[in-house]
C-alpha cells in the first residue's frame, strides 16, 4: 500500500514538473524544481540504497521528459544520498524513530531547515552540472539561490496544505 502511494506521488510529481513547472520561470534565474519533494517525504527509516534508487528513477523520468539525459538523475541521486545525514543533523528526534518528515511531525522550524538544506544541495548540484564550469560563479550562485527559494516556497505550501488533511 505504501508503495502504491509512493508510485502515485511519483507519477503526479513527474507530470507536474514536466508539463507545468518546467515552463515556469520567475525573472531570469528562478524555476521551481518541485520533484525533490518526492525524495523529501520518504520516511526516515528508509534504506539509503532504496532511497537512492527511487531518486535516480524520478530524476531519469524528468530527464527523459525534458531532454536533459543524466542531469536531473545525477543531482537527484546526489541529494537523496545526502538526505539521511541532513535528516539526522536537523531533526531532534531519536534516529531509530521511523517518521515521515513534514511540518506536522517535525514542526515548522525544523522542517524548514531540513527542506532548505536538501533543496539547496539539489539545486546547487543541478545548476553546477548544467553549467559544467565555474566560469560564471555569479550567475551560478544567483540561479541556485533563485531555484532554491522558489522550490522551497512550493514545498512549504504543499506540505502546509497536506498537513491540514
Amino acid at each position: 500500500m505504501q508503495h502504491l502511494t509512493k508510485i502515485r506521488q511519483f507519477v503526479l510529481l513527474a507530470l507536474l514538473q514536466a508539463l507545468v513547472l518546467n515552463h515556469v520561470r520567475l525573472g531570469q534565474f528562478a524555476a521551481p524544481i518541485l520533484y525533490i519533494y518526492f525524495v523529501m517525504k520518504f520516511s526516515s527509516g528508509t534504506d539509503t540504497k532504496a532511497l537512492t534508487l527511487w531518486a535516480f528513477a524520478i530524476g531519469l523520468c524528468i530527464d527523459i521528459l525534458s531532454n536533459t539525459p543524466g542531469l536531473n538523475a545525477a543531482s537527484c541521486t546526489f541529494a537523496a544520498f545526502c538526505r539521511p545525514g541532513i535528516l539526522r543533523l536537523f531533526s531532534a528526534r531519536d534516529p531509530r524513530d521511523d517518521f515521515e518528515p513534514g511540518i506536522r511531525v517535525m514542526g515548522f522550524a525544523q522542517f524548514f531547515r531540513y527542506a532548505l538544506a536538501l533543496t539547496l544541495l539539489h539545486c546547487a548540484a543541478l545548476n553546477l552540472i548544467d553549467a559544467f564550469s565555474f566560469a560564471n560563479p555569479g550567475t551560478l550562485a544567483l540561479k541556485t539561490l533563485g531555484d532554491t527559494t522558489t522550490t522551497l516556497v512550493c514545498v512549504l505550501c504543499i506540505d502546509s496544505v497536506r498537513r491540514g488533511k
Binding site: 514536466a18 518546467n22 531570469q28 540504497k49 531519469l60 539525459p69 543524466g70 542531469l71 548544467d130
Partner: protein
C-alpha cells in the same frame, strides 16, 4: 576473497551511489556529444505520447494570436513580393524569367509541417520536440522554420518524434548575414532573454546599421538563403576587438511556438549545394 565481499557489503550504498552517478554522467556526455540515443529523450514513444496529449490541450491557447501574426505577415509578404516583382520587371524585360524565379524559389526542398509538442526557453541548452519523426521522413541536420523565421536544426529523430536543437541553445550555430549588405556572421545564444540572440564574427569593416534585417546565409545546406532571423538591435566590438558583436531581436517567438516546418533539401540538392560551395571556395583561394 571474503574480505572483498565484506568490504563490498559494508560499502554497498557508496557503490550504488557511485554506479548511479556514473550512469547519469554517461547519459549526459553521450547526449551532449551528439552520439546520443533517442531512447532517453522525450522523442521516445512514451515521452512523445505524453507530450502529444498535453500539446493537444495547450496548443489552442495561443492560436488566436498566432493566427493574427500569420495573417499580418502574409499580407506583408504578399505586398513585398508584388513590389519586388514590379521592380524586377523594370530591369528584366523577360517576364518568363521572373515566373521561373518564383517557381523555383523552394524547388528541390521538401517542406514537412510539424507540430511542437514540447519546448523550453529557460535553460542554457534548449530543445524542441516535434511530432514528426523518421517514419515521416524527417532527417537529422535539416532546418526547421516557422511562419516568422528560423527556429533551429533537427538534432535526433525517433520513429514518430524528433528533437530540434533550438536556436536558443548554447551549442547552436546558424550561419546568417545582413540582408542589405551581405556581410555574414554566426548566430549564437548564450542564455538570457529568449527574444534576443547574438551574431558573432561579423567583420569590423562591415556596414551594419541598427534595424537591419538578418537572414540565413545559405552557406550551409541546412537552411536555404534568405530565411528571416531577426533585426539588429544593438552592436558593440567583440572582446578581442577583432570583430563585431550584434545583438539581434529574433522574429521567432520561441515561447509560443506551435506549428513549424522542416525544410529538407534532399540528398541530390544537398550535394549540389556542397559542390557549388566548394567550387566557390576554390575560386576565391
Amino acid at each position: 576473497m571474503r574480505n572483498l565481499v565484506n568490504f563490498l557489503a559494508k560499502h554497498s550504498r557508496w557503490l550504488l551511489f557511485a554506479l548511479l552517478e556514473a550512469v547519469s554522467f554517461a547519459l549526459l556526455f553521450r547526449f551532449n556529444n551528439y552520439q546520443g540515443s533517442v531512447a532517453f529523450t522525450s522523442a521516445n514513444r512514451a515521452g512523445g505520447f505524453i507530450y502529444d496529449v498535453a500539446g493537444q490541450v495547450t496548443r489552442y491557447f495561443g492560436l488566436a494570436e498566432a493566427n493574427r501574426n500569420l495573417t499580418a505577415r502574409n499580407v506583408q509578404l504578399e505586398i513585398e513580393a508584388e513590389r519586388l516583382a514590379e521592380a524586377l520587371g523594370r530591369y528584366v524585360r523577360d517576364t518568363a524569367e521572373i515566373a521561373a524565379l518564383r517557381r523555383t524559389a523552394l524547388q528541390g526542398y521538401t517542406i514537412r509541417e510539424a507540430r511542437v509538442v514540447n519546448n523550453s526557453v529557460t535553460r542554457s541548452c534548449n530543445f524542441i520536440t516535434i511530432d514528426k519523426g523518421r517514419d515521416d521522413g524527417i532527417r537529422p541536420e535539416t532546418g526547421v522554420i516557422c511562419g516568422n523565421g528560423a527556429v533551429g536544426i533537427v538534432y535526433l529523430t525517433g520513429a514518430r518524434h524528433s528533437i530540434v536543437l533550438s536556436a536558443l541553445n548554447a551549442q547552436s550555430n546558424i550561419s546568417c548575414k545582413i540582408k542589405r549588405t551581405g556581410y555574414f556572421g554566426v548566430l549564437r545564444w548564450s542564455g538570457g532573454s529568449p527574444q534576443y540572440a547574438r551574431v558573432e564574427d561579423m567583420p569590423r569593416h562591415s556596414e551594419v546599421s541598427l534595424g537591419d534585417t538578418v537572414v540565413t546565409s545559405g552557406y550551409s545546406a541546412v537552411f536555404p538563403e534568405g530565411i528571416p532571423v531577426g533585426t539588429v538591435d544593438d552592436m558593440e566590438d567583440s572582446r578581442d576587438g577583432l570583430s563585431r558583436l550584434l545583438k539581434v531581436k529574433l522574429f521567432t517567438d520561441f515561447a509560443r511556438l506551435n506549428d513549424v516546418c522542416v525544410i529538407d533539401p534532399g540528398p541530390a540538392l544537398e550535394e549540389q549545394i556542397l559542390l557549388r560551395d566548394s567550387a566557390e571556395a576554390a575560386r576565391t583561394k
